[in-house]
Subunit: 334 residues, 2 copies
């Protein structure tokens, strides 16, 4: 952890110390973010740190411990008021056993007992879940999925993943891997299995890294006046200004994403799809996907929405799960 910063910490009079409070955590490959909330879900303080230098689980837990202390000090809440903690990790997570089964190569976690590590470090009940599921919970609680029984939250950043909410609750699947749509097979993607660690079929056409690689592979001075090294969102901006290669790649990606959304709507028959993540929430990409979906409008009456919580979705989902855990856990007599 090299850089530590506190962001936005409204010092308000709250009932935190009497009724207790919770901490929600978003563990990412680049950043660690924490939020302290009271029992009504109101955020009391925030904390952020970098995970870029060390992503070892013990190091991350130590950073969380320091972050929690910071939050309590910042919000002027006694440590004894802390009821529970919830952490979202970027990987397949066994929620019942509290184990992060596997993250991507970037983190390299395998069977990390994160729940018990957090409980030992902090002395309060903890819950852990996949970060995209947490984001879906956040959107369900106070975002674009509010009051919608069944919906799918699709996170598109470097890669692609989905959080499935059925009957108001995250549906995680028997192997905790429901919504792993990055590997989905649709027209226009490779139907050959990819190597372990490599992006999935859908991901390689729709994820930020896949879009960047497609650009690199197809780039030539004859086709575009834009530079060879370009991120997905910069490619979208190029498409908006009329660059032919950028437009072709944008439309191809949007079309392939529309196939995946249509397939999901056939299987789950849910009325709402929420796009999240830095690539998924780019307005140019969102609009192109919405347009591509019109093709299926006669069969599938689905609504595509932008994430209302944006980068906050995971953190708010974590706060929600921590609150649920706090409500389910009787307060111990001191």
């Amino acid at each position: 952890m090299t850089k530590q910063e506190q962001t936005r910490a409204p010092r308000q009079n709250t009932t935190a110390s009497s009724e207790g409070c919770v901490v929600g955590i978003d563990i990412g490959g680049t950043n660690l973010r924490l939020a302290l909330a009271d029992t009504t879900g109101c955020i009391l303080a925030r904390h952020a740190a970098s995970t870029a230098d060390s992503r070892n689980a013990a190091t991350v837990v130590a950073a969380i411990e320091r972050g929690v202390e910071e939050l309590m000090r910042e919000a002027n809440v006694p440590r004894s008021a802390l009821r529970s903690i919830a952490a979202g990790a970027p990987g397949i997570t066994n929620v019942d056993e509290g184990i992060v089964i596997a993250t991507s190569y970037l983190m390299g976690w395998r069977d990390v007992p994160l729940q018990s590590m957090l409980e030992s470090a902090l002395g309060i009940p903890a819950i852990v879940d996949n970060d995209v599921n947490m984001a879906a919970v956040g959107e369900s609680w106070m975002g674009s999925g509010k009051n919608v029984r069944d919906f799918v939250f699709i996170a598109i950043g470097t890669g692609v993943g989905a959080g499935v909410v059925l009957e108001g609750r995250p549906f995680r699947g028997m192997g905790w891997a429901a919504g792993e749509i990055g590997y989905m097979l649709v027209p226009g993607v490779s139907s050959e299995p990819t190597e372990h660690g490599a992006p999935g079929a859908l991901e390689s056409m729709v994820g930020g890294e896949g879009i960047r690689e497609t650009w690199l592979r197809t780039w030539s001075q004859e086709k575009t006046s834009l530079p060879r090294e370009l991120t997905a969102t910069k490619i979208f901006e190029g498409a908006q200004t009329g660059d032919p290669l950028a437009k072709a790649i944008l439309h191809q990606s949007a079309q392939i994403l529309s196939y995946a959304i249509y397939n999901l709507s056939l299987v789950l028959n849910c009325p709402l799809f929420i796009l999240g993540g830095g690539v998924g929430t780019h307005p140019v990409f969102f609009e192109a996907t919405q347009k591509a979906l019109e093709k299926w409008a006669s069969r599938s009456h689905l609504k595509l929405s932008l994430s209302a919580l944006g980068a906050e979705a995971q953190l708010m989902g974590a706060v929600r799960l921590a609150l649920d855990l706090a409500h389910a856990t009787p307060i111990k007599d001191k």
Copy 2:
């Protein structure tokens, strides 16, 4: 209704008249089948009739009424012992309101209040559901899905549909159309929307009618020694005897079905897929699909099973739902 026949009616001593019994019904485009069961689910009598001549909803309900009388007589059970009835219809069905929203062109039903029609005709509580969902319930109760929390039952006959069982219960979707996978978009299918009434993208490559049409379209005397007019199952038999065109069509269909199953496994993360229906349970097609799925084995540890109940799956599912309804409905004082 031209032909009426009773099939297998074991005359056993049962507790039917004291504890009551239920009727399960499978309404198809060709046949109407009824089964009388005691409260333990043991079948007391069966009845079948043709629906080929008249598929009008009132006519079908009248045929059900006659069938129920036949069953009671056959099993020597008084009419007053009948507790509830459940009917599966080949279309999208609103289970809460008891309305068959839409069936295929063959039946042509639109917004048929089947539950209230049955309740009026028979004077007992009724429940209606989609027939593939009922088959999935049957497999979950006493078939290949027994003791499996989450699985997908895929019915492949003329067309293709799926019944999704999550957490032990049928998952029907907010528009009652979950599992409508006949329209799924996978590599190798057309990505253009089909006209209303026409087979869906997946269905046209994997369903019996689609396979037959592919055969017709690609048939030539140079490619095969088999006749031009051939059903899907006859094409599978031709593949087994080494006919090159039949083999090519079998493998193409099996591969495309394997893509759809893989996609379902990504979304739902369920460990089991059950193939049902006359085409889906053909051993040659089942084996080819199983082989095609091996390609994804490293990522997806799913099991493909044959329907254990075969043509009985829908009827047994109907019996199960009727029993659930009977248990949920207090017996009226006479």
